[in-house]
């Protein structure tokens, strides 16, 4: 294992990759935290908030790796960056539904289950590749995260399976959420413009290979549970890896950074 980041295009590809990993977990953890108190039952409230807390911890690990690479302090990377500096996939920043958690939240549980299940499968595939990364600190982080991610994947797989094989109403809502999530899941699967440098340097495997692994797992689940196959996942709302984002991200960042930004110098 080595920690080489000798030439510049290689180093910037590494930094780009870690931003993607950190920002994906960060924003989806935030969306998860918005469900607190609104999940279908109290046990799910406990589970979902615990998962969101773990994921926020994973984002923190990635931001600390960026700090070590000279990108600035981890807390500031989380709280003080502009939306245009985020590399998360657009699907993960989308609101949970209409309203806010303070004002008439009408959140879509089917969307939450599908988005989190698809993401957890991809996160598993991605971590299995990252634990062999040529960048030692990233491989170490992946080995740590994978032990926690195991429980998350199990949780979302159970929800997905139960709801798509439940009542007609549940099936209808779940199939519709699958269609919605599919239209943007391609944005999660891509590694963005510097993908070939990432792969050449051995930081992560080919995105097409990982996409194939993701599709195999998802399609196996679809066949088992009678969900119609969807074809190629799309990137309809834009490519977050190219720093394209929606108003949803700007709104989320404004809310989550509100306290920190009032006085970044204080300790929390």
């Amino acid at each position: 294992m080595n920690n080489k980041t000798t030439n510049d295009p290689e180093k910037s590809a590494l930094i780009e990759l870690i931003y993607q990993l950190g920002d994906d977990d960060f924003i989806l953890a935030y969306r998860g935290s918005e469900w607190l108190g609104l999940a279908p039952h109290i046990e799910e409230d406990v589970a979902f908030s615990s998962i969101s807390q773990d994921m926020m911890g994973h984002a923190t690990m990635y931001y600390h790796l960026l700090e070590a690479l000279g990108e600035g302090e981890a807390d500031e990377l989380a709280h003080l960056r502009n939306p245009e500096a985020f590399r998360n996939a657009i699907l993960l920043e989308k609101v949970n539904g209409s309203g806010t958690y303070l004002d008439k939240p009408d959140y879509d549980w089917a969307f939450a289950v599908v988005r989190n299940y698809f993401y957890a499968v991809h996160k598993q595939v991605r971590l299995e590749s990252l634990r062999l990364s040529s960048y030692g600190p990233l491989a170490d982080a992946a080995r740590k995260i994978i032990t926690e991610q195991y429980y998350h994947l199990m949780h979302w797989e159970l929800w997905f399976k139960q709801l798509v094989t439940s009542t007609e109403e549940a099936k209808k809502r779940m199939f519709s959420a699958v269609e919605t999530v599919w239209k943007d899941f391609g944005g999660v699967l891509t590694l963005g413009p510097s993908y070939s440098e990432m792969v050449k340097a051995g930081f992560i495997e080919d995105e097409n290979l990982m996409k194939k692994r993701w599709l195999n797992r998802i399609e196996k689940m679809f066949q088992e549970t009678g969900v119609p196959l969807q074809g190629e996942p799309l990137i309809e709302s834009g490519n977050g890896r190219k720093r394209e984002h929606t108003q949803d991200l700007a709104d989320a960042l404004a809310t989550l950074s509100e306290v920190y930004a009032t006085n970044p110098a204080s300790g929390w």
């Binding site: 046990e43 406990v46 589970a47 615990s50 998962i51 807390q53 773990d54 994921m55 926020m56 911890g57 994973h58 923190t60 690990m61 634990r131 170490d140 982080a141 080995r143 740590k144 995260i145 994978i146 032990t147 926690e148 195991y150 429980y151 199990m154 949780h155």
Partner: protein, 168 residues
């Protein structure tokens, strides 16, 4: 006790001090017995403690860091203390000592099974009555490292530490 302390070298004294640093969320167990201390380096009074976080998002990490510094600074001849959280090796529940396991039970938390293989069934005994006639209510619990269960024998709710094994 004085005589024992005098016969100890500095590293042993530091380890003794670490025995007093408890997990703030499970106040009966020391971080040493939880297997969170990977290495203690000491060079002429400068101490570096390499510690392994249990769960990455654990909010107690900052408190643990503060408590380690406080406890170790009190040891005679220690000039400075630094705490490094490292992720290699990965913390696993196999690192918890036998003493740690019995302290977990005192706190009402069933200790994790030894030599657990991720994905395999996990047998849990009630920490109060020892019965294995229990049900899992929620694999996730009040802290990242715990699950919620119910004992059908003594009719008590209890918690269990989630098994974490190296998956590599």
């Amino acid at each position: 006790m004085e005589a024992v302390l005098q016969s100890m070298n500095l590293k042993e004294k530091i380890l003794l001090a670490l025995k007093e640093v408890k997990d703030p969320e499970i106040s009966s167990v020391s971080i040493l017995d939880l297997g969170m201390v990977e290495e203690v380096q000491e060079i002429e009074g400068s101490v570096i403690i390499k510690a392994l976080p249990t769960f990455a998002g654990c909010p107690a990490l900052h408190i643990i860091e503060r408590d380690i510094k406080k406890a170790v600074s009190k040891v005679e001849d220690v000039k400075e203390v630094k705490v490094d959280f490292v992720f290699s090796p990965t913390w696993t529940t196999d690192r918890i000592t036998e003493e740690g396991k019995s302290q977990l039970k005192e706190f009402g938390i069933a200790p994790p099974p030894a030599n657990h293989v991720m994905g395999e069934p996990w047998s849990i005994d009630c920490p109060y009555c020892g019965s294995s006639y229990v049900t899992m209510e929620n694999i996730f619990g009040p802290t990242a490292c715990r699950s919620i269960l119910y004992c059908k024998s003594c009719k008590n709710p209890f918690e269990a530490m989630k098994p974490v094994a190296d998956m590599n």
